[in-house]
């Protein structure tokens, strides 16, 4: 591919309000020739263009991407997480290394004494399981040393880092297996130029090396890894770095409402003129350096709105300079006119996407309140419309299937395993969505910890109370390995992800139902979304369609009652049979083709089914307002 032919429309981040002297812009335009170049700034463009004149080669972009250290460490691995996320191909699991593979011997679910908490090395033991289920991306919750002052829980909140540029020594395994030790030592030596004498958790480079080992193991299995960047700092950090911290006009530290263990950063040195606080940005620049060096494929930005667009404009672009495929996931939900949370800015997903984020959380965590199918459809439409509106200048954007994040109560508490299976299948079939599951949910963890609010003698923090947000994943204590007693959920996850990855027949060799289409992944990740009229508002019925191939989702979101109804399926052939591609669970479902273009269904409580149907014309025959298509994919 000639570089002159490279399509540039999707160049990220260089989006809005370029303000520079006209002469500079003109010069930049002259230099770029035929390219549709949209740069961060004319000055940067000018500088880079001048360099390119000397060294420009006719290579495709992919070939000219810099080879990262992580790439060098794992042959065959290449970061494409950004593409995966923007093109809805990431199946994400959120994990906490501190608890991921912890070994709770006494069964009290709290890791104490000689019990082994999760660490970078034993976490590797779970990677095959994760891969087997079809996850190809990890969202790793923060791995930094936690603050110990005014702390929440006995281990400190993951989101109250004491330091952003080192890793939590508690995640170091000081006695790893020999072959692991050797590999870690190599990595240590590569970085420091020194031989590893002792696997000392207090040596920050040991933690870096073990983290690299963990990431490499993920990469070897085709799993991309995103690190969680906390939005605030611990009280300990704030005491050490007062120049970075936000002080209100009242002279007090800014504390995000409800989180007494953390302090807000000062993003601006001059808020009225919106001049960034350079030392703060510098620190985050180093953070990006660290992530790229460790081999992370992207960053999940905690509370994206906590930092302004100017900040992200620098940091995201900088990460892309180092790794164009470096992915950014924003914890941002919905447009707010104002923030309901004291000391926290308002939430504006669109501007975060425009400035460079690839994906965002959205509002699927509210799905349990959406009792009618229309609400879901409206939300899908809202997001596709927004992406289609901004896509021309910043490319495709996606959501994660945030039906339950670590901030939410376990969905098991809402509707048990059927509800989790229902939402798993649903999110795996929705457009513009990367399925997202918090570790433990795949086997039905209720996140109910017996030590909740118990007082313990041994604490790593100044708090002896085992703080737990009831029903939520424990991020404050060293807790047991996540997991529950509903292995059937894992089967559903596996089947649903196999279908969306286009590997259904391969991964379900014993299934009676065979998928005849070969482009299932394309249908699900790129196909149109067609809502199907029903006479029962609780029935969710939609089709995904691409290149003449159609998948059908039919589900009952009512977890208490069986529902029945009629679904109009434009173009449905009278002889079409309905064979469910998903594992069966709960009450039986009945489907009948009425021969007149409709399916008459009876759906068990919380049941979700997916069918392949031969309906080439469904898109044409459906009402225009029922057909949604994400452009710019």
């Amino acid at each position: 591919m000639s570089i002159n032919n490279v399509r540039l429309a999707q160049v990220p981040t260089q989006t809005v309000n370029i303000a520079a002297p006209k002469t500079q812009v003109k010069e930049a335009q002259e230099i770029k020739g035929d390219y549709q170049l949209t740069m961060v700034s004319p000055l940067l463009a000018q500088m880079l263009l001048a360099q390119s004149k000397k060294v420009l080669a006719n290579n495709s972009v992919s070939s000219v991407q810099n080879v990262t250290e992580a790439q060098k460490r794992v042959p065959g691995y290449k970061n494409d997480l950004r593409d995966m996320m923007t093109h809805n191909k990431a199946n994400i699991i959120a994990v906490i290394p501190r608890t991921m593979n912890a070994q709770d011997k006494d069964g009290n679910e709290l890791i104490q004494g000689d019990e082994i908490s999760g660490n970078f090395i034993n976490a590797v033991g779970r990677l095959d399981e994760i891969k087997d289920l079809g996850f190809n991306t990890q969202h790793v919750l923060p791995i930094h040393p936690t603050g110990k002052t005014h702390a929440m829980g006995t281990a400190g909140s993951l989101y109250a880092p004491k330091d952003f540029l080192t890793l939590d020594p508690e995640l170091v395994d000081e006695n790893p297996p020999e072959e692991v030790r050797k590999r870690v030592a190599e990595l240590y030596e590569q970085k420091t130029g020194k031989k590893l004498e002792k696997m000392d958790k207090n040596d920050p480079e040991v933690a870096f090396a073990q983290c690299k080992y963990y990431i490499d193991e993920c990469h070897k299995r085709g799993i991309k890894v995103m690190l969680d960047l906390p939005s605030c700092a611990s009280v300990d950090f704030a005491r050490m770095h007062p120049e970075l911290m936000a002080i209100g006009a009242d002279g007090k530290e800014k504390v995000p409402q409800g989180w007494q263990d953390i302090r807000m950063f000062k993003s601006f040195i001059d808020e009225q003129r919106r001049i960034l606080n350079k030392p703060f940005v510098d620190m985050l620049k180093k953070y990006v350096d660290m992530c790229v060096d460790l081999g992370f494929d992207g960053i999940r930005a905690d509370v994206g709105r906590a930092r302004p667009v100017e900040f992200w404009n620098v940091i995201i672009n900088y990460s892309r300079a180092k790794d164009p495929q470096f992915a950014w996931l924003a914890e941002t939900y919905t447009h707010e006119d104002a923030s309901p949370q004291l000391n926290m800015p308002y939430d504006r997903p669109q501007e975060l996407l425009e400035v460079g984020f690839d994906s965002y959380y959205g509002q699927y965590h509210n799905y349990s309140d959406w009792t009618k199918a229309d609400v879901l459809y409206d939300y899908v439409k809202e997001n596709i419309d927004m992406n289609n509106q901004i896509g021309a200048k910043c490319g495709p954007k996606s959501l994660i299937g945030s039906f339950a994040t670590h901030d939410d109560q376990s969905p098991m508490l809402y509707g048990g395993a059927p509800w989790v299976m229902f939402t798993t299948i649903l999110q795996s079939m929705l457009p513009q969505v990367n399925p997202y599951i918090v570790d433990g949910i795949q086997t039905g963890d209720f996140y109910l910890y017996p030590y909740e609010h118990a007082l313990v003698r041994d604490s790593e923090t100044d708090n002896h109370e085992c703080t737990v947000h009831s029903g939520r994943l424990d991020i404050f204590n060293k807790s047991r390995k996540p997991g529950g007693n509903s292995p059937e959920i894992a089967q559903v996850v596996k089947s649903a992800f196999a279908l969306r990855d286009g590997r259904y027949n391969e991964l379900n060799p014993n299934s009676k139902v065979k998928l005849s289409m070969t482009n299932a992944q394309e249908v699900i990740t790129k196909g149109s979304f067609i809502t199907l009229p029903t006479n029962n508002p609780e029935i969710i019925a939609f089709a995904r369609h691409k290149d003449g191939k159609t998948l059908l989702f039919i589900g009952n979101r009512n977890i208490n009652l069986k529902v029945g109804g009629k679904i109009e399926i434009p173009g449905l052939k009278p002889e079409q049979k309905f064979e469910n591609l998903m594992p069966s669970y709960g009450e039986e479902c009945k489907f009948q083709n009425d021969g007149q273009g409709s399916a008459v269904v009876e759906l068990g409580a919380g049941r979700a089914c997916v069918f392949e149907i031969d309906d080439k014309d469904i898109e044409k025959l459906s009402k225009a307002e029922n057909v949604l298509q994400q452009k710019y994919l």
Partner: protein, 820 residues
């Protein structure tokens, strides 16, 4: 695949060749990026500040209505819009309550005031914060705490509704800078924007708290004060409108001369012809009839029927409850205003008798009638019982009735057979007369259909016509001269009293004294004495003509010719007759005929409506004439006191002889005061007529009264009264003969006072006292609540400058930050 700029990529590739060089290059890129961080800016806010206003409020109410129906239909509504439906509910609720209360109001003014009250309440609720909180806050602090905005979701909200959810970026920097300038905060100073926002936030919070704290008092106070202010205006408007309408209808017009009689006619006939009311309670009556179609028409039936016909008069009237009957009749026509004039009728026997006849008419098939009918055939019935029931018969009349019921039951089971059987039994018992048999069989079969038909015809044809015409007629009558406050004559009368009060120059204290001294109004008499004696002194040296001229100016009350014409038309018996004349075509049954007589009566028959209305008109007119007459008597008295004639007359009558003075029981001043109270206080005259005073005082008091009311001294006043009598088309109505009146008053003989309304109307001091009390009540209410409102407003305004203080919140400028 997502691509990055090839130029950027290429440069990166080159730089990767040397790590050291690469890092340096990344640093350069980073520095470049940081220098141009501000090339991007936050997106423009979706929330927009908006301006409100009445049109906007109306638009919102309509929108709320639409949202309500949307919510009902689809079950979809945002929380904000759901909350707003509450406002809509309040408005609709208020309207419903006002409508309900208005439907039960006794006067049109009251009915209108229900709506005015509701509207005023909402207006007060809206205006209080706007005028006394938002406006001063805006003047003092430079921004609108009632600022509204449209959210990103399109919902309209108060900007400061939730003090912790303030979409600040809806305010532009320039706007904040301006507000900062006004509040003394430099926007460009450190934390300037935050300080301004905090000040606004605090000011708004304090003001909104003040609003919440004061609205509970302010809204009802403003509502009541505004209502109080508006009510007289509404009342006057109602009177004027009603009066104008009445004039339009009853004033003879050329248009109506077309019938060739040459006599100008009014639009009254046409107006009445279009006054048919709705047929009432048809379904209820049908249901009742169905229930009793083959049953005994018992007391309960009549009670229910009377209720459904809104004619509960019948049975009561039979029981002789005259007053109740009148009230029932009043209810029959359902117009509260009608009661008073009808009451004035002094309804007498013929009216009640007619009602009794109506009762008799309806009582044909009453249980009692049946029993009576059967009484004459007791023996045969006993035989019949014996035959049918195969039992012995020794029953009382009561038991007979029970037995009859059993017979009826048997008849129902085998009608033809048993009827024939009964006939046979009757024949066997010597009852061969077909007429007798007819009566019995009719009674036994309880065939009520004929009666029901009559009632239905009455309800559906006659009653609506009569009701409609009567109501319309009485509406006109009341607009012109009803006793209720909403009539032109009452307005005239009250205005005259008000004029006198105004001349008396009563201050609040005076009003209080008058109102607190009750009906005897002794204090009032004191004021009136001054009022009349001043006039008397002013005019005592005038010759009779000049004196009459001064009197005309002083006693200004009079009916204008339009009003007199309208009164005359409405009491014309021919016109009253037209109430039923026009309805004749609707039905011609016995009930109608009797009703005709009840309402209209024969011409000039006492108790008939025509005569009553005529009398009533006279009363109204006389009450005005009485004011003049009573005033003239007072003036005359004061003139004679002032010029010494009264003292002289007392001496001549030997009422102040040495003997009288000797025993020290009476002196001149005490005698004068007694005489004055006799003159001013009509009750005294009444008592005198009833002999309550005269008998005790003997000749002395008789002489005193004869002295006060000596007709010889009333020549000029009598002439004046005669000359200024009201007239229609220059035809003077018969005025009071003042000389005759005073002669009657002096003689202690009521029968000698002309049979007019002189004694029946309020005494002069009573009227003034009554009116003064009303004014005092209004004023005393105002004296409590106006200062209260003023204090509330003052406090609300005065605290404004103290709001929004943020000095303590920003003690020192901590520019370096730092955790503590």
């Amino acid at each position: 695949m997502t691509y990055i700029s090839p130029i950027l990529s290429n440069s990166l590739k080159q730089n990767n060749k040397s790590k050291k060089q690469s890092e340096s290059h990344y640093n350069k890129i980073y520095e470049e990026l940081t220098r141009h961080a501000n090339d991007v800016k936050p997106n423009a806010p979706k929330a927009k500040l908006i301006k409100g206003g009445p049109a906007h409020a109306v638009k919102n109410t309509i929108k709320d209505g639409k949202n309500f129906f949307k919510a009902v239909k689809d079950g979809k509504l945002s929380d904000n819009n759901l909350g707003r439906i509450n406002d809509l509910g309040m408005k609709l609720g208020a309207l419903t309550i006002a409508s309900f209360l208005a439907s039960r109001a006794k006067t049109k003014t009251d009915a209108i005031m229900q709506f005015v009250g509701g509207a005023t309440f909402f207006a007060s609720m809206s205006l209080w914060p706007k005028l006394f909180i938002n406006l001063p806050a805006r003047i003092v602090h430079g921004f609108d705490i009632g600022q509204k905005y449209v959210s990103a979701q399109g919902d309209e909200k108060d900007f400061f509704l939730d003090n912790q959810f303030l979409p600040w970026d809806a305010y532009s920097k320039d706007e904040l800078r301006k507000i900062g300038k006004r509040t003394g905060i430099d926007y460009d100073s450190p934390n300037g924007e935050e300080k301004i926002q905090r000040k606004m936030q605090k000011t708004a919070l304090q003001n909104r708290t003040l609003w919440m704290a004061t609205a509970g008092f302010a809204t009802p106070l403003l509502t009541a004060m505004f209502g109080n202010f508006v009510e007289p205006k509404v009342k006057n408007a109602v009177i004027e409108k009603g009066y104008k309408k009445a004039l339009d209808i009853v004033t003879p017009k050329l248009f109506y001369e077309q019938d060739g009689t040459g006599v100008p006619k009014t639009g009254l006939a046409d107006y009445l012809a279009n006054s048919k009311t709705d047929v009432r309670n048809v379904a209820g009556i049908d249901k009742l009839f169905k229930k009793y179609s083959n049953g005994v028409l018992d007391d309960k039936f009549y009670s229910e029927l009377a209720t459904l016909l809104e004619l509960n008069s019948a049975q009561d009237s039979v029981q002789g409850k005259g007053e109740e009957t009148i009230k029932r009749i009043y209810q029959m026509f359902k117009d509260p205003d009608d009661y008073e004039p009808i009451k004035k009728l002094h309804i007498t026997t013929p009216f009640v008798d007619e009602l009794k006849n109506i009762q008799a008419e309806t009582a044909i098939v009453e249980p009692n009638s049946l029993e009576n009918a059967l009484k004459g055939f007791r023996k045969p019935i006993k035989e019949a019982n014996s035959f049918v029931m195969n039992g012995s018969v020794t029953s009382t009349p009561k038991e007979v009735r029970l037995d009859v019921a059993k017979i009826m039951q048997e008849f129902k089971e085998s009608a033809d057979k048993t009827l024939a059987g009964l006939k046979t039994v009757l024949k066997n018992n010597g009852i061969n007369n077909e007429e007798d048999f007819e009566i019995i069989s009719k009674s036994l079969s309880f065939d009520n259909s004929k009666f029901f038909e009559t009632i239905k015809e009455y309800n559906e044809t006659v009653l609506p016509e009569i009701r409609g015409r009567f109501k319309s007629y009485m509406n006109l009558f009341n607009s012109v001269m009803g006793s209720k406050t909403e009539s032109k004559t009452t307005q005239l009368y009250l205005n005259e009293i008000d004029t006198i009060l105004k001349r008396l120059n009563f201050n609040y204290k005076d009003l209080k004294v008058v109102s607190e001294n009750g009906i005897l109004a002794q204090k009032t008499q004191g004021y009136l004495t001054k009022y009349f004696s001043d006039f008397a002194q002013r005019t005592q040296n005038l010759n009779p003509e000049e004196y009459k001229k001064a009197l005309k100016e002083f006693l200004s009350i009079s009916f204008d010719s339009d009003l007199l014409q309208a009164m005359d038309t409405l009491v014309d018996p021919n016109n009253v007759q037209s109430i039923v004349d026009g309805a004749k075509a609707a039905g011609d049954n016995s009930i109608f005929k009797r009703l005709n007589n009840v309402i209209i009566g024969t011409k000039n028959q006492i108790g008939g409506l025509a005569n009553t209305l005529l009398n009533f008109r006279n009363c109204k007119q006389d009450s005005v004439e009485a004011i003049k007459a009573k005033s003239l008597i007072c003036i005359n008295f004061e003139r004679r006191v002032a010029n010494g004639e009264f003292k002289k007359a007392l001496k001549e009558a030997k009422l102040i002889s040495e003997d009288v003075l000797k025993d020290d029981t009476l002196d001149y001043n005490r005698l004068l005061e007694y005489a004055r109270s006799t003159v001013y206080d009509g009750t005294s005259a009444k008592d005198a007529c009833n002999g309550n005073i005269g008998s005790a005082a003997g000749d002395f008091y008789k002489k005193l009264r004869e002295t006060i009311y000596n007709p010889e001294f009333f020549n000029t006043e009598a002439e004046f009264l005669k000359e200024t009598a009201n007239s229609v088309d220059n035809k003077k109505l018969i005025p009071f003969d003042l000389k005759k009146i005073v002669k009657g008053l002096g003689s202690l003989n009521e029968s000698e006072i002309p049979k007019r309304d002189y004694l029946k109307s309020l005494s002069f001091s009573q009227a003034v006292t009554k009116r003064a009390t009303e004014i005092f009540n209004n004023k005393s209410w105002a004296r409590i609540f106006v200062p209260m409102t003023a204090a509330l407003i003052a406090v609300t305004l005065l605290v404004q400058p103290f709001f929004g203080k943020i000095d303590k919140e920003f003690p020192d400028e901590n520019k370096n930050g730092g955790a503590k």
